[in-house]
């Protein structure tokens, strides 16, 4: 189990006292999920602006969480950037995050995706849609339910929600809007031979190579990136609305470099960082920054999503969904 919050804090504190204080506090350790290019750019810029040396660990949200958990008794990370909001909610609930309500520009963030108390900040986001191979699909579908049409039988992938946080966001988001009736969509998917295929990239790859035609709940920035390279692929956002999957950043309570961590969060919310986000084909977290090479938030029809419900029902939905599609 995860142990009680109290115990975790105690050990963390004890560990903190046990170590000699840093002499010149010029280091920071960041654990960050995907896209690598963006993370590298952000960190390089931050390092040159602040003079702080940043150690990074890059991995999927799952790997980062596992590592955090494993290091619990003697934490290493100061800041984490995840690709899944419920995970950040979880961290907060466990009391592992450090509140930083004074963060600069925090007020300009999308309210739904960030913690009002300043425990996490969604500095970027991706939208989920239907990615399709332009050589195989000439008239793209316009609705989620189109994917249940017989012409697409056995041609569609959906990422595995147990491996992909964004796919889980899509499923729980859809259900939080439609209620239990929402399951009928997924049942019809099952009937049409929709295949659950690994994490996001693994679901998308067969569509690029033409083995499958479409991905339901595809992460848009990955699709944009492939499209920019020239691969025969594109994405549509169904008209009944879709889910945004925010990418929260948080400071860990156990940090020994609190000032540096705060500086890093400030940087992530700065104009130049948000510009880098939008360059990477992600949605900027700040409402006042517009994306230039992709659909903006305003252009994407959205479902009514209840993040609290979604966070609470994640694992239950995952179980039910994976059993259904197996």
């Amino acid at each position: 189990g995860c142990g009680s919050n109290k115990a975790a804090e105690d050990t963390a504190a004890a560990a903190g006292e046990g170590k000699p204080a840093e002499t010149a506090d010029k280091t920071l350790t960041v654990y960050t999920a995907g896209p690598e290019g963006l993370a590298n750019n952000l960190i390089k810029e931050f390092e040159s602006q602040s003079g702080i040396k940043v150690e990074t660990f890059q991995g999927t949200t799952g790997k980062i969480l596992a590592r955090l958990e494993a290091e619990k008794s003697n934490p290493v990370a100061d800041v984490v950037i995840l690709a899944s909001l419920p995970s950040a909610q979880g961290l907060k609930k466990e009391g592992l995050t450090l509140a930083y309500p004074e963060a600069k520009n925090a007020d300009k963030l999308n309210k739904d995706w960030s913690d009002p108390e300043g425990n996490y900040f969604s500095t970027s986001a991706s939208a989920l849609g239907i990615a399709y191979n332009t050589k195989l699909v000439t008239t793209p579908p316009t609705s989620w339910s189109d994917l249940a049409k017989p012409e697409y039988k056995d041609q569609i992938n959906i990422p595995d929600p147990s491996l992909s946080g964004s796919a889980l966001d899509f499923i729980t988001g859809y259900l939080s809007d439609k209620g239990d009736g929402g399951w009928s969509l997924f049942e019809s998917y099952k009937a049409n031979g929709v295949a659950m295929a690994g994490a996001n990239q693994e679901a998308l790859d067969p569509v690029i190579t033409g083995a499958k035609s479409m991905v339901a709940g595809a992460v848009d920035y990955m699709t944009y990136k492939a499209k920019a390279k020239g691969e025969p692929i594109d994405i549509v956002y169904p008209q009944e609305g879709t889910v945004i999957s925010p990418r929260p950043a948080a400071i860990l309570k156990s940090t020994k470099h609190e000032e540096n961590a705060k500086a890093f969060i400030d940087y992530l919310l700065s104009d130049s960082a948000q510009k880098l986000v939008s360059d990477a084909a992600l949605l900027p977290g700040r409402t006042d920054v517009k994306a230039e090479n992709r659909a903006n938030l305003g252009d994407i029809p959205l479902l009514k999503t209840d993040w609290t419900w979604m966070g609470e029902h994640g694992s239950e939905v995952t179980d039910k969904f994976t059993k259904l599609l197996k």
Binding site: E55, K229, P232
Partner: protein
């Protein structure tokens, strides 16, 4: 859960069968025909094992899937794809990946069985199959038992193929279940550990059976009389059959997946497929730039695995010699302990290591250093060297050591002059194995590498995660190529051995 466990076990059993079917004839061919003289083939047959399992599966998937390379090359054969995406296909992929493991052990043992045991049977009128059943098979059993056990353990603790391929055909195994608890919110090590302990239990059972078989079927095969090998073996048509087999195996185990991998690594756009104007070497140029992250990752991998496999070799040899024929309870305990790290999925084990080495009371600040990585590798891979060395060691007639003692050699001297040279082939095989696995080890590295550090495996994995499939594939080709080159050089340097067995 019972069902998933049974699926895991069933997969393990089928992969043992699969690897046996591939490795046994190969070992026979390499010992008894002139192909055995081409030592470099030995290394080439290791290539499937050097290939990270998920790359291998990807290669197969890319080849067999709809609109895949097979269909692009020979549209008529597209029907094969359907049959391939099945449990049988999964077993085939995993067997083709793991067979080198068993092959090296069996080859060593076959060489030690030497000529005269089989010759005697032939003169007594036993046809090949009978000879095989009554003489070769029982004498191989101890080495086979060790190999099969490792294969089983590796299969049911394997994660790469079940995730890339198993998911696709809806075949769930324990590792994917365990992985869920360890990689998505809420992280629950407790559950993962308890599930792992189920795997552990089944592995223990297999170990037990194996150790019983081993105790009963280990014989001193390297004796004190020079054994001549018949020059009759493998003549005429047999050479041809053997040749065809070797070529076929090379095509299937290396040719097909590497066709896909190389093709994917040289495509400008993967959506276009096989076409000359889609060909590019840019990815390789990018990777091979001096001081690029990829080069650093490559070098990291290289020296980490060199260090780890060498340490594992030393430890493993020591263990193997201490275990001996597992006559005493103590020896059996060491035997079991040396295997344990392998019986649980790597990720669970690695988490355990982190919990241990990162705990506040640990006096050695190893965590987040290279030392930790090497330590992890060593602990993960020591079982392989132990089994390889043990297999070589237990088949040496104790009289050879006794003779050393009688002539006044102290134990250390006997060890150095008699034991060591006799087990060197086993050690070398073990080292090659560990070096190979270490150079592509992913699961452990992902979690345990200090921040800001990559190995070629994590680099490749990151490229896949980033959608840079071509770059990842190119990196796989480069790192496997480098490993192969290194092993070939090593083999060339070490192949001066003139004596026959073991």
């Amino acid at each position: 859960m019972m069902v998933v466990l049974l699926s895991s076990i069933w997969l393990g059993v089928c992969v043992i069968l699969g690897t046996t079917v591939i490795a046994l004839p190969l070992a026979w061919v390499m010992v008894n025909t002139r192909f055995g003289r081409w030592r470099w083939l030995e290394i080439v047959f290791l290539i499937p094992f050097m290939t990270p399992p998920y790359i291998g599966s990807m290669g197969w998937i890319l080849f067999m899937q709809k609109n895949g390379y097979l269909e692009q090359l020979a549209p008529g054969l597209s029907g094969l794809g359907g049959a391939f995406f099945s449990f049988g296909g999964m077993v085939a992929i995993m067997s083709l990946h793991l067979y080198p493991f068993l092959y090296l052990l069996l080859r060593g043992a076959l060489e030690r069985i030497g000529g005269n045991m089989e010759e005697a049977a032939a003169v007594m009128g036993a046809p090949f199959t009978y000879r095989f059943r009554r003489v070769i098979a029982p004498l191989l059993l101890s080495a086979f038992g060790m190999g099969a056990m490792l294969i089983f353990v590796k299969t049911i603790a394997e994660f790469g193929t079940p995730v890339t391929f198993g998911k696709r055909i809806g075949y769930e195994v324990m590792t994917s279940e365990i992985h869920k608890y360890i990689s998505s919110w809420p992280i629950d090590f407790g559950k993962a550990t308890s599930l792992s302990s189920v795997l552990l239990a089944s592995c223990l059972l297999v170990w037990y059976v194996q150790s019983v078989v081993n105790r009963k079927y280990t014989f001193g095969l390297v004796g004190g009389k020079g054994v001549r090998r018949s020059s009759m073996r493998g003549t005429g048509w047999l050479q041809w059959v053997a040749g065809i087999y070797v070529v076929l195996l090379l095509v299937v185990s290396i040719g097909i997946p590497y066709f896909s991998v190389v093709a994917a690594s040289t495509m400008k756009l993967r959506g276009i497929g096989l076409a000359w104007n889609n060909f590019t070497l840019d990815f390789y140029k990018e990777l091979l730039r001096w001081n690029s992250p990829s080069m650093k990752a490559l070098m990291n991998s290289l020296w980490l695995s060199l260090a780890a496999s060498t340490i594992a070799l030393i430890l493993g040899t020591w263990f193997a010699v201490a275990i001996g024929r597992s006559k005493t309870r103590g020896q059996r305990t060491i035997d079991l302990l040396s295997l344990l790290p392998n019986t649980v999925p790597g990720i669970v084990f690695v988490v355990g290591l982190i919990l241990l080495w990162n705990s506040p009371w640990m006096p050695v600040p190893l965590y987040n250093t290279y030392g930790m990585v090497i330590l992890t590798y060593v602990v993960l891979f020591v079982p392989y060297t132990v089994q390889y060395v043990k297999s070589a060691f237990t088949q040496i007639d104790p009289k050879l050591f006794q003779a050393g003692q009688v002539f006044g050699a102290k134990p250390v001297y006997v060890f150095r002059r008699v034991l060591l040279p006799l087990i060197v082939p086993g050690m070398l095989a073990g080292w090659m194995m560990t070096f190979t696995i270490a150079s592509r080890e992913l699961v452990g590295s992902l979690l345990i590498l200090p921040p800001s550090m990559q190995t070629s495996a994590t680099y490749i994995y990151a490229q896949f995660e980033q959608g840079q499939v071509s770059l990842g594939m190119a990196m796989a080709v480069i790192s496997v190529g480098l490993t192969t080159l290194l092993l070939v050089l090593l083999e060339a340097a070490g192949s001066k051995r003139k004596w026959a067995a073991p």
